[in-house]
């Protein structure tokens, strides 16, 4: 069960108020007519589906009804941050890998944007990056 921070309502709410809507940041081809079958098929059907950090679109369906983004770990289910449409994630698989290399993982930065990440969950996030 998720406890999700809506960046528009600025509150943590129960998962049942939300619907997941799949991978975020998929750019629609600027000129669909100019796409090859491969490009168009990739755009329509192919998704990243990672075991690890995933940026995904959710809608606050029984709340403000706005779409927003969540960065979440798909094995530990830990929510690492939520951010508004049009914004870019501050936590990515690459950024976590870099921080791990530098020896300091600090996922829960930014306070209210993050559901409190336990040490165990952070360890599992780190482990999955390895």
């Amino acid at each position: 069960m998720f406890h999700i921070y809506c960046p528009y309502c600025e509150e943590h709410r129960e998962e049942e108020e939300f619907h997941p809507k799949g991978q975020a940041h998929i750019a629609r081809p600027a000129e669909p007519e100019a796409c090859s079958d491969e490009e168009w098929g990739d755009y329509l059907f192919f998704r990243d589906n990672p075991r690890g950090i995933h940026h995904e679109l959710w809608v606050h369906a029984i709340g403000c009804r706005k779409f927003f983004n969540i960065t979440r770990h798909t094995a530990s289910y830990e929510i690492l941050e939520t951010y508004k449409m049009g914004e870019q994630p501050t936590i990515t698989a690459e950024s976590l890998a870099r921080e791990e290399k530098a020896g300091h993982v600090q996922v829960a930065e930014g306070g209210q944007q993050t559901v409190g990440a336990s040490d165990a969950a952070l360890a599992s996030v780190k482990g999955a990056q390895g």
Partner: protein, 416 residues
């Protein structure tokens, strides 16, 4: 292989059942195999079995990171049916159904296949039109299928609430009498034993960590027990297929979701068929042990954690109680999740890939168990010949670029 029989049972009783042979070996990996199958669930083991039995290819390894049949094979609700709408999928699932019908004899292993019939309920006029269409399509494809009205449904399942009082009154159903359930673990064990007896190495606790690819052709796999060479590799890894595809350097049109199921405390026999409803969204049967086996839809988010959200379980049980008020005070015993690899058109992928010699059998989504023998059978032929079996051909990965999808979503009485 020690054959099982009534006589054998009596013979072993004399020695207090202490001398039964192990069902399969626990071999050390060889340096190289003709075929490596990644994934030791039902589909992977069936593939190995039919490779050995039908194609004489026995230098085969099945590589499993956990234990045999510990993934979705052990986590599904064991429903077997073949009443799919489109010709391509109906042919594939009916092929599987025919193999199910002789499977216990073929494997010399009781898979407890029970053809107790499956009802797909209709609750709206549109449901009933879709049912009529699907029943007609099934019959044209030689699949047993009937459209029933509410009274006929009530006669088959007296405990189902078919009254007008229900929030979504039952208006009728499609009925496939040859459909039913099977014992999921026995399916994995039976195929494993049959494959092992023909020389297939089953390597448990062996995790694939990468592929050895040379000039665009797969030549082996890296594992936690060292490198193993192979001429052909077949991936049958369900929810983890996308992860394997990434290792090989390409993407698949799959999303991995948790699908939850649950069983109740054991009850006396009360439900002797399988009831599915798309509209109130739940499905239920009663196992031979007496527990109600219940499932419904996937959790909507991506997940590899083999667990889902409580709210999904709650919705599932609301649907069951809506259909069966008699179960309102039954206590649930266990609940679990499996990771299903869902495809945009709700049909599987049985296909060659951009890497030569590497084949994928995945995308079965929420309904793979019923296809276990058929999937293994056609995938074995595909691996043996290096080109798609005629029944597998429509399920090539190319369809997501050509647009020739086999759109079974919602059309098949699939409850998701």
């Amino acid at each position: 292989m020690q054959r099982y029989s009534g006589f054998g049972l009596v013979k072993h009783a004399l020695s207090h059942h202490e001398n039964w042979q192990r069902q399969w070996r626990n071999p050390t990996p060889r340096k190289e195999y003709d075929v490596i199958i990644i994934g030791g669930g039902g589909h992977g083991l069936a593939t190995a079995y039919y490779l050995a039995k039908e194609h004489g290819i026995t230098n085969v390894a099945v590589i499993e990171k956990g234990w045999l049949g510990g993934g979705n094979t052990a986590r599904n609700t064991t429903i077997v049916r073949s009443n799919y709408l489109w010709d391509e999928s109906a042919a594939l699932y009916e092929h599987s159904m025919k193999l199910w019908e002789g499977l216990s004899q073929d494997l010399n292993y009781n898979v407890m296949f029970s053809q107790r019939g499956v009802l797909n309920l209709g609750h709206t006029l549109q449901d009933m039109r879709d049912i009529q269409r699907r029943v007609n399509a099934n019959r044209l494809n030689g699949i047993d299928s009937e459209a029933l009205d509410a009274q006929q449904v009530q006669e088959i399942v007296p405990i189902l609430d078919c009254s007008k009082r229900a929030r979504y009154p039952v208006m009728g159903a499609s009925w496939q009498p040859r459909a039913g359930v099977a014992r999921h673990d026995a399916v994995a064990w039976g195929f494993a034993r049959g494959a092992d007896a023909r020389g297939v190495d089953i390597l448990q606790q062996t995790e694939v960590t990468g592929f050895k690819i040379l000039d665009g052709r797969v030549v082996g796999v890296h594992t936690n027990r060292g490198d193993i060479g192979a001429k052909t590799v077949g991936c049958v890894a369900a929810g983890n297929s996308g992860v394997l595809a990434r290792m090989a350097g390409f993407r698949l049109p799959l999303e991995s979701h948790p699908l939850q199921a649950l069983v109740s405390e054991p009850l006396k026999p009360v439900l002797d068929t399988v009831v599915m409803s798309n509209h109130v969204h739940g499905y239920i049967s009663q196992s031979d042990k007496g527990d109600l086996v219940i499932g419904a839809g996937i959790d909507g988010y991506l997940g590899y954690g083999q667990r889902g959200s409580y709210s999904t379980v709650e919705h599932t049980l609301q649907a069951i109680v809506e259909m069966f008020p008699i179960f309102s005070r039954v206590r649930m015993n266990r609940q679990w999740g499996g990771i299903v690899d869902t495809c945009p058109d709700a049909c599987p992928i049985l296909s060659a890939t951009p890497v030569k010699g590497l084949f994928f059998n995945c995308g079965w989504g929420t309904g793979g168990f019923k296809a276990t023998p058929g999937s293994g059978h056609v995938f074995a032929a595909t691996l043996a010949k290096g080109q798609a079996h005629p029944l597998a051909a429509p399920f090539s990965i190319d369809r997501f670029h050509t647009g020739a999808l086999v759109d079974e979503h919602g059309a098949a009485g699939v409850a998701h």
